[in-house]
């Protein structure tokens, strides 16, 4: 195909943005913001082009770019898109752009902030587009590390602790992934890190059984897998708004995507062998996360634990190893990404204005900040699985697949939906209903400019809530091919 | 036990006596003495093995095996150089801290 290297162009958007931010003197924060927004917008535009030109029915990867990078190790600059990563690229574009807009009012160390955020996004885009195992891990870590500074410098509650905990946890994950990746390289014996060729390689059964847990746990940590999830709420609470958005919205998906893109296609026997165990872990995630969320008083903690719970649904969908389940999982990745970004965007505004997120000190927010509250309530309802928003369908697919694969777990997670609803409603009723708290007299409600990014997020939730076919039509052929390759 | 092994035994013992001095004595000069003993033991080792076992007789220049002897000569030179450096430092240290007791020199730790 002699067409434009769209994926490289996509990656170039934030890279150029980063370069431009770095050369812009720090005394021009406005210009820096605009550069960041422009790079986000450009990337989003490229994603739109990708989506338009993407042919769901075509087999294999599209927009493939391939350049030899380190030939002696078989490392290649190899990018491609299929139905599994296209939605996630779109998610990244959405969340990054809205994240930049949400932080428009940031005053403190603007240059460093946007530089780091752009770096983070480079990593995320990279992970989602690359088809080379080396670059996969490369970008994966690129995405993880700016988090430390982003949280520690611009964060709030226990930020240093949260930042360090998050970073170390995630790096423990990579410490498991790196040896596993190298084992995959040598195990295939083809001298390549090309994921598509590694997927075709045949690994021995015992190899698969040994290596799979490393990959699953390694990536699973980033996906908030129980019991290695505690970095996530703490980190989210500490992080500034847009970082929380990116982190819970996109970064946690990297983990699940790693499982989906690396662990499961390369080690199908391992996946089958461990599926039951991972399904149980995922179920614990869902139920446990919901229960802990039920007892939180900090809005962000609630969201953090709800993320744990919702990512459990993704893991559960993957663990079913069925087309339906994987469809649901990918869809849920997207939906949860948008939803949780909206969550944090809403809370971010509230926190900026009222300087507290403790629901005991809040109340009647729907009166004082009706629009900002509405955004939160929409997110909460999405999280609680209200139809009309995209999560509902995603979760439904996962539940359906689970009922097929693990009926008992399906009953458990469906019953746990009541808890999910309970914690969402609890927060809404406590913080947004009731008399306005006397400590927070009149503050300005969210203006139109800051509403726009949040409204965009709501729009996507609704769009795919009303027309899940739009996204599932993209995902489904890819999962079909993936699942067929297992049998 | 062959003749060579007797020599080797002496060398090992000498080496370990040196080691004992090195880790036991507090005086820096005594430690240097111990070190030099170790070097002497190594010289003995080298000369004994090459003299009594020979290795292969040919070398690049076609000479008979005298590698051990050459090594020993160089070793002796090295020992002298080491002695020079070490002694000068010990003297400097003594001037500085009024002691050449190695146990007094343990500020850098952790």
């Amino acid at each position: 195909m002699s067409q434009l290297p769209l994926l490289t162009i996509l990656l170039a958007c934030p890279v150029l943005g980063l370069a431009a931010i770095l050369v812009t003197p720090a005394r021009y924060p406005g210009a820096i913001r605009r550069i960041a927004a422009a790079s986000g917008l450009a990337a989003a535009a490229v994603v739109v082009v990708l989506w338009m030109r993407f042919d769901p029915q075509a087999p294999g990867f599209q927009f493939v770019e391939r350049v030899r990078w380190v030939p002696s190790f078989g490392i290649e600059w190899h990018n491609g898109v299929d139905g599994l990563n296209l939605p996630l690229l779109a998610l990244t574009a959405i969340v990054f752009l809205t994240g930049v807009l949400v932080m428009w009012e940031l005053e403190e160390r603007v240059k460093e902030y946007f530089a780091l955020m752009t770096l983070l996004v480079i990593g995320v885009y990279g992970v989602f587009m690359t088809l080379d195992l080396f670059f996969f891990v490369f970008y994966y870590e690129v995405a993880v590390l700016p988090m430390y500074l982003l949280i520690a410098v611009w964060g709030s509650t226990r930020k240093e602790y949260g930042a360090m905990k998050l970073t170390l946890y995630l790096l423990v994950g990579t410490a498991l992934v790196v040896p596993a990746a190298l084992a995959l390289y040598w195990g295939a014996g083809q001298g390549t890190f090309d994921l598509t060729r590694l997927a075709a390689a045949h690994y021995g059964r015992s190899f698969q059984l040994l290596v799979y847990p490393f990959l699953f746990v390694g990536f699973g940590i980033l996906a908030g897998m129980w019991p290695l999830h505690t970095w996530s709420p703490v980190g989210h609470v500490a992080a500034p708004t847009a970082v929380s958005m990116l982190h819970a919205g996109v970064l946690m998906k990297l983990g699940a995507y790693g499982i989906l893109r690396v662990a499961m296609p390369l080690l199908p026997q391992g996946a089958h062998y461990w599926a039951q165990a991972t399904a149980i872990l995922a179920t614990v995630n869902i139920v446990y996360g919901a229960f802990v969320a039920l007892n939180q008083t900090d809005l962000k903690f609630v969201i953090g634990y709800s993320s744990v719970s919702h990512m459990g649904i993704v893991l559960l969908g993957l663990s079913t190893l069925s087309e339906t389940g994987v469809n649901g999982a990918v869809f849920q990745m997207f939906s949860h990404g948008v939803m949780t970004a909206l969550f944090f965007a809403a809370v971010g505004y509230i926190y900026d204005r009222l300087h507290t997120r403790d629901i005991r000190e809040l109340g009647g927010l729907s009166r004082t900040l009706p629009v900002a509250s509405a955004f939160f309530i929409v997110a909460a309802l999405t999280g609680a699985g209200v139809p009309g928003f995209s999560s509902f369908w995603a979760e439904l697919l996962v539940f359906l697949a689970t009922l097929q694969a693990y009926p008992v777990l399906a009953v458990v997670v469906v019953v746990a939906l009541t808890i999910t609803l309970a914690y969402s409603i609890r927060v809404i009723v406590r913080a947004f209903f009731g008399e306005p708290h006397e400590a927070h007299p009149g503050v300005a409600d969210i203006g139109w400019f800051l509403s726009v990014p949040r409204a965009v997020l709501v729009g996507f939730l609704l769009l795919f809530g009303f027309a899940p076919r739009l996204i599932l039509g993209v995902i489904e052929p890819a999962t079909r091919a993936l699942v067929q390759s297992w049998h | 036990m062959s003749q060579l092994h007797w020599y080797l035994l002496v060398a090992v013992l000498l080496f370990c006596i040196g080691l004992y001095g090195l880790v036991q004595r507090r005086s820096l000069i005594a430690m240097l003495i111990a070190l030099e003993l170790m070097l002497a033991a190594i010289s003995l080792n080298v000369v004994a093995i090459t003299s009594l076992a020979g290795g292969d007789a040919e070398s690049a220049t076609g000479n008979v095996s005298s590698a051990g002897q050459v090594v020993a000569v160089i070793l002796i030179g090295v020992a002298a150089a080491e002695g020079a450096i070490a002694l000068s430092l010990f003297v400097a240290i003594q001037r500085e801290v009024q002691s050449i007791n190695v146990e007094d020199l343990s500020e850098l730790k952790g």
Binding site: - | I17, Y20, Q24, L44, V70, A80, L87, F90, V91
Partner: protein, 182 residues
């Protein structure tokens, strides 16, 4: 009991006893004397191996140069009247144990070594040593000369009294005094 064995036995005994003196006696001068004794023993061992030249060089460099340098160093550095701290018995025992352990370990390895080649004593004429030093060991020869130069200059520099330092143990004045070499 032949002459060789006697010479070997007495030299070895001299070397070991001297070495023990060198490490165990309290007086530093006795140590140096013991050191010299040990080296004489080693030189004797060299003689039994037919390395007369080496024996002489050893005595010259070690006993002649190093021993004297040590004596000087002692004179320069260690006032003989400083009170001695008593030896610590645990340290002696520990060190001895360590030395014994290492000796046993080394011996464990070495005693089973089968060195190739015929067990015959080769007389090596000094001229062969010289020749090799200037032929295939010429690089080593050059390097050791560099090493010695570095060591000499270094020794001078290290030992030289620091003119910028007023008293030991206090921080040197940061302002360069006039006339100090820059």
């Amino acid at each position: 009991m032949n002459w060789d064995a006697f010479l070997f036995g007495s030299s070895a005994a001299l070397a070991l006893i001297g070495a023990l003196f060198a490490v165990s006696l309290k007086n530093i001068f006795h140590n140096i004397l013991g050191f010299a004794l040990a080296l004489v023993g080693v030189a004797g061992l060299f003689l039994t191996l037919g390395s007369d030249f080496l024996a002489i060089v050893l005595l010259l460099v070690y006993v002649g140069a190093l021993g004297i340098a040590m004596v000087y160093a002692v004179m320069l550095s260690q006032p003989l009247d400083t009170p001695r701290t008593p030896r610590s018995l645990p340290k002696i025992a520990g060190s001895a144990l360590l030395a014994a352990l290492v000796a046993m370990a080394l011996w464990l390895v070495i005693r089973r070594a089968h060195f190739p080649g015929p067990p015959e004593v080769l007389e090596v004429a000094p001229q062969w040593i010289g020749r090799r030093l200037l032929q295939d060991y010429v690089l080593a020869f050059e390097l050791i000369s560099v090493l010695l130069v570095v060591a000499m200059i270094g020794a001078v520099m290290v030992a030289r009294r620091d003119p910028g330092r007023r008293a030991p143990g206090t921080a040197a004045g940061t302002a360069p005094r006039p006339g100090a070499p820059r």
